[in-house]
Point group: C2
C-alpha cells in the first residue's frame, strides 16, 4: 500500500456504520472521530451496553494524533472511558460537549488523565497531517459540529449527526456557508448521516414543539412533568421558556439531568429566565398548578424517575391524579413495548400522558431525504459514503445520492470493519478488519461474548434442570434423585412432572450403557421433551461413594 | 344482583381490552365473542403465546349458549383449541372465518368435536336470550363482521376490528345502513375498536397499496417476493391481480399460506386470474423476471420462510442478487428490531427490500380517529365502552367519544376482568374478576407463570454458577471444587476468575459457620459480585462421604 493512501475505517460491528467511532489514517497518523456506545438489542440478554472493538486502534496507539468528539450524545461519547484506558491522545470538543465529557469522566475518576482541548465551531485545528475545520450543525443537542478534514489526498466532509433546522431554538442554523465554501474548494468525499434515509421530505424544526407545549401548559389542570433525555438541553430551554410564559416554576428531578442542566447553564447554553427555577423540594411544596418538573425516563427505563413513578416506587414523590405527563423524546428502536407499558401504567395512576404521535412533542434531530439531497448539492462531493445508519438506511441514502447526481460507481455502501482507501482521485475497498463490538456487562468488558449470550438465550427459553445423584460403588442409587429447576416449570403446578422425572431416572439408571453421566443427561432431556415439548438445559452431577 | 342485569365481561389480563375474548351474560346465559391469543412481549421469555384466563367461563360452562368469532385473525381465533377442550358450545362464524377455523382445528384433531355453524353478514341468529345480527365490516381480512346484540336490557353494538374503507379491494364496504338502522332502534351501548385511537384522520383504503405494487412490479429487475401474513387474503388478491397485469406467474411458498390461499379460493374469497398461479417448483424453474412468490415472515420470525431466506438457511430456494422483496404487512409492536435485522440481512444478500415507511405497501386494518367519530355519530349510543386497545388507546378513544357528544359519565374506560353491568337505562361497574392470562409454552398450558418467567429473566441477565463440593466427614474438601457456569462468563476469557473462585472456596470453607450450604452460596455470590458486579444464580451441591 502506498504511503499516499488515506484510509477511512468505520469501527463497531453490526451497529450503525461509523456512528460510534470512525478512524482516518494516513501514513503513520490516525485521527479518531467519536467514541460512543451502542444500546443492546432486546435479545442481547443481560448486556449493559456495547462498545466498538477498537483493537485496531490499540495496536496503533502510538500514531493516534487526536480524538474528535462531534457532540455530547452517548452514542458518540459513551465509550470515552474505555478508550482512555488504552489510548493516550488529546480529545477535541466544543464547550458543551467538553462539559458533558467532564461530567462523565469525573465520575470514573479519569478526568485528570484526559487531555481535553476546547474548540469552537468555525475553528481550524491541525491534528497530525489532518487539518480539521469544525462547522456548526443543528442536531438535538446544542454545540454539535461536523468536520471538514483536509487530508494529503483531498478534503473529506464528515457531517456527523445533523439536520437543516431553518428555525432552531437556539437561533444557530447549520453552517450552510461553510458547506458551500467546501464545495468551492472541491470535496473528495462526503460521509453523511443516514439515520432518516427512509423519511421523505424535511425534518420539522425543533421549534414546532412550541405550540404543542403551549397547548399542554394552557390545558394542564394540575402539575406537569416533562420526561426527556438528560442531554436534551434545547428541550430544557423550551420547557423553561414555556413555564415562564404560563407562570409556573420549574425544577429538575434526577442527578444526571440536574448536573447537565447546571453545566449547560454555567456555559451559557441554557438560559432559564430569572426566578423560574426552584429546587425539587421547593417544587414539591408548591401548588401543583404552578409547577413543572423535568425528569429522565422517556424510554421507560425501570430505574429512571419516570419508570419508578409508573411503578409507584419513586421515593421523593409519586404520580397524582390529574398530573399531565409529556414524553418529549424519540423512541429508541426496540424500546416501544417498555415505553407503551410505562404510558399505560401512568394512565392507570390517573395521569394524562401526552406522547408522540398523539401530540407533536418531539421532532427528530436527523436530516430527512430532502435535507440529504440538499447536503449533497451543497457539498458536491466526488465520492459519497453513507454513514450513521443500518444497512437499509445506507442503501436508501445511496439511492438518494445517485438521484442527486453522484455516479453509482462513486458511492460506497460499506459496513463497519470495511476499510475504504482514497488516493487523490480514486476510491477503493481496502482490507476488512475483524473488528466487531464488545459487550460491557457489570464491571467487566469483553468476557461476555456471543456464546455466553447464546447460553443466556437458551436459559431464558426453557430454564434448566439440575439432577444430583448419589451412587454407591456399583452405580446404584443410594437415595432418590435430587432435582432442582429454575425457569422451567412452576413448582406447585409441576410436582407431578418432577416426580415422574425422578421415577424415570430410577427406572432407567440400571439400563444405561457406556458413560453413565452422558447417558443420564440424554435420558432426562428426552423424557422432559416428550412430556413438555420444551428443551431446558440439563445437568447431572454424580456423587460416588 | 337482579336477574334483569346484563353483564359484559372482557377477559384476558393486561392485553388489549376485550380483544381476544369478551363474554355477554344475562341470567343463566352466556354468549362468548372471540377466542384469540396474544403474542408474548419481549420480556416474557420463552413463552410461545398467551391465552386469556377463561376460568370464569369454565365454571359456568353449562350456561354458555354460543361462541361467535368475528373474523379469522389469530388474536380472535387462536385460542379456540384451548376453549374447545373445556367448553362445549356451538361456534358461529362467516364462511371464510369458518374455513380458517377448520384449517386450525383439523391440525389439532379437534375438528370433529367442534359444532361449527356458518352465518353470513346480514344474518340474524337467536343465541339464548341474545338476538345477534351480524353486519359486514371492512378489515384486513375478508368476511369480518361486527355484532348487533339485542339483549333483554337493550341493543349493544360490538364493532370488533373494523375500518370504514370507502374503496375496499373486494368491493364490499362496511355496512353503514345497518349501523344507521341500529341507531334508529336506539342503541344502549357501543363497544368499539380503539387500536388506532392515537392516529389522526382516516385510515387509507386497502386500495392505495395498488400504485405502490404497480411501481414495484414495473421496476423490479428480477424475481419478486411478497412477504405478508398467512391470513391476509386481500393482499394475495392484489398480488395476483398485479402479477397478471405485469405478465408474471405467482406461487405461494410455505404451508400455512398455501393452505389458506387454497381454502379462500375454494370459498370464492380469492380469485386468482386463470393461468397466473403455478406451483413453487414450477416458479423456481422459470425466468425470475416472470415470477412473483408470496410467503410468510413479514415479522422477521426466524423460522418463517423470509426469516430463513435472510439467514441463508431456506432449503428449497435462496435469495438471489437483484431479488425485490416487498414486506407487505404492519409491524406487530415489539417486533421492530427483528424485522429491521431481517431487512438488513436481505440487503446484505443483494436483494432490494421495499417496506413501510419507505413505500406504502401496507395500510392498517383499523379505524383512525375520524372513523371513530363517524362510528359514534352513526350508532348514537347512550353508553360508550372503548375496547380493543391498550389503556392509552382507550383513554384517547374516550376523549374522542366525549368530543362526539357522549357525556363523560356515560363512558367507561375499563380493563380486562372488570365487569360492566347494564340495566335498561343504566350502566355501572360490577365485580372485578381475577382473570388475567395464561402462558402457553411448548405442549403445556399454565405451568409457566410469572414466577418462572422471573427466573428466566434472572438467568438471562447473568446466567448461573454451579459449585459441586466433595467433602469428607469432617467437612473438609476431598478434591478441588468443580465449577460449571452457563450464561455468566466466556470460559476462555474467564479461566482466571474461575480459578480465583475455586481458591476462594478452598480458603473460606474452614471458616464457615452454621449451615455450610447456605454460607457457601452466600460466600460465592458475594465473591463473584465483588469481582464482576454481576449476580448470577449460584447453586452449591455438597457430597458427603
Amino acid at each position: 500500500m502506498s504511503k499516499k493512501t488515506l484510509k477511512i475505517i468505520p469501527l463497531g460491528g453490526l451497529g450503525e456504520v461509523g456512528k460510534n467511532m470512525t478512524a482516518y489514517e494516513y501514513g503513520d497518523n490516525i485521527l479518531v472521530v467519536d467514541s460512543g456506545i451502542m444500546f443492546p438489542e432486546n435479545d442481547m440478554l443481560g448486556i449493559d451496553y456495547i462498545i466498538p472493538d477498537f483493537d485496531y486502534l490499540v495496536k496503533r496507539k502510538d500514531i493516534i494524533r487526536g480524538i474528535v468528539i462531534t457532540h455530547g450524545h452517548e452514542d458518540h461519547t459513551g465509550a470515552i472511558r474505555h478508550v482512555l484506558e488504552e489510548i493516550d491522545a488529546p480529545i477535541y470538543a466544543t464547550p458543551l460537549t467538553r462539559g458533558l465529557l467532564e461530567v462523565k469522566l469525573s465520575k470514573g475518576g479519569l478526568l485528570s488523565k484526559a487531555d481535553l482541548r476546547t474548540v469552537q465551531a468555525g475553528d481550524t485545528v491541525q491534528i497530525g497531517p489532518f487539518k480539521v475545520e469544525f462547522f456548526h450543525v443543528c442536531h438535538s443537542i446544542p454545540d454539535s459540529v461536523g468536520l471538514g478534514i483536509t487530508t494529503p489526498v483531498g478534503l473529506i466532509v464528515h457531517t456527523a449527526d445533523y439536520k437543516f433546522d431553518p428555525t432552531p431554538v437556539d437561533g444557530w442554523p447549520t453552517d450552510f456557508a461553510k458547506l458551500a465554501e467546501f464545495s468551492s474548494r472541491g470535496v473528495l468525499a462526503l460521509l453523511a448521516d443516514s439515520t432518516n434515509a427512509d423519511k421523505a421530505g424535511w425534518t420539522p424544526s425543533e421549534r414546532v414543539i412550541g405550540p404543542a407545549f403551549d397547548k399542554a401548559f394552557s390545558e394542564a389542570p394540575s402539575r406537569i412533568l416533562v420526561a426527556s433525555f438528560a442531554s436534551l438541553i434545547s428541550r430544557m430551554q423550551q420547557v423553561a421558556d414555556t413555564a415562564a410564559r404560563y407562570g409556573r416554576k420549574m425544577a429538575f428531578a434526577g442527578m444526571s439531568m440536574t448536573e447537565n442542566a447546571k453545566m449547560a447553564a454555567k456555559l451559557g447554553y441554557l438560559k432559564i429566565p430569572d426566578g423560574v427555577q426552584v429546587s425539587l423540594d421547593q417544587a414539591l411544596q408548591m401548588n401543583p398548578k404552578k409547577v413543572v418538573l423535568m425528569c429522565t425516563g422517556s424510554q421507560g427505563e425501570p430505574t429512571s424517575i419516570l419508570g419508578r413513578l409508573s411503578a409507584g416506587t419513586n421515593r421523593r414523590f409519586g404520580i397524582k391524579e390529574n398530573d399531565t405527563i409529556i414524553l418529549s423524546s424519540h423512541t429508541i428502536p426496540g424500546n416501544e413495548e417498555t415505553i407503551y407499558r410505562t404510558i399505560n401504567s401512568l394512565f392507570r395512576r390517573g395521569a394524562n400522558v401526552l406522547y408522540d404521535p398523539l401530540v407533536p412533542v418531539h421532532v427528530s434531530g436527523h436530516a430527512s431525504q430532502d435535507e440529504m439531497r440538499l447536503m449533497i448539492h451543497l457539498v458536491k462531493p466526488k465520492f459519497f459514503i453513507p454513514i450513521h445508519g443500518e444497512l437499509r438506511h445506507l442503501k436508501q441514502h445511496a439511492i438518494i445520492a445517485k438521484e442527486s447526481g453522484i455516479p453509482q460507481e462513486n458511492i460506497a455502501v460499506i459496513e463497519n470493519g470495511q476499510i475504504i482507501e482514497f488516493e487523490a482521485d480514486s476510491m477503493r475497498l481496502g482490507e476488512r478488519i475483524p473488528g466487531g463490538y464488545v459487550f460491557v456487562d457489570g464491571a467487566r468488558v469483553g468476557d461476555v461474548g456471543p456464546s455466553v449470550v447464546r447460553e443466556r438465550e437458551e436459559l431464558a427459553r426453557d430454564g434448566f434442570v439440575l439432577v444430583s445423584l448419589n451412587l454407591d460403588n456399583n452405580g446404584r442409587l443410594r437415595d432418590d434423585p435430587e432435582i432442582i429447576t429454575r425457569g422451567f416449570v412452576y413448582k406447585h403446578e409441576a410436582q407431578e412432572l418432577i416426580e415422574a422425572t425422578s421415577q424415570h431416572i430410577i427406572e432407567t439408571i440400571d439400563n444405561l450403557d457406556g458413560d453413565i453421566h452422558n447417558s443420564m443427561v440424554k435420558a432426562v432431556r428426552s423424557f422432559l421433551y416428550k412430556e413438555t415439548k420444551r428443551r431446558p438445559m440439563v445437568f447431572v452431577t454424580l456423587n460416588w461413594s
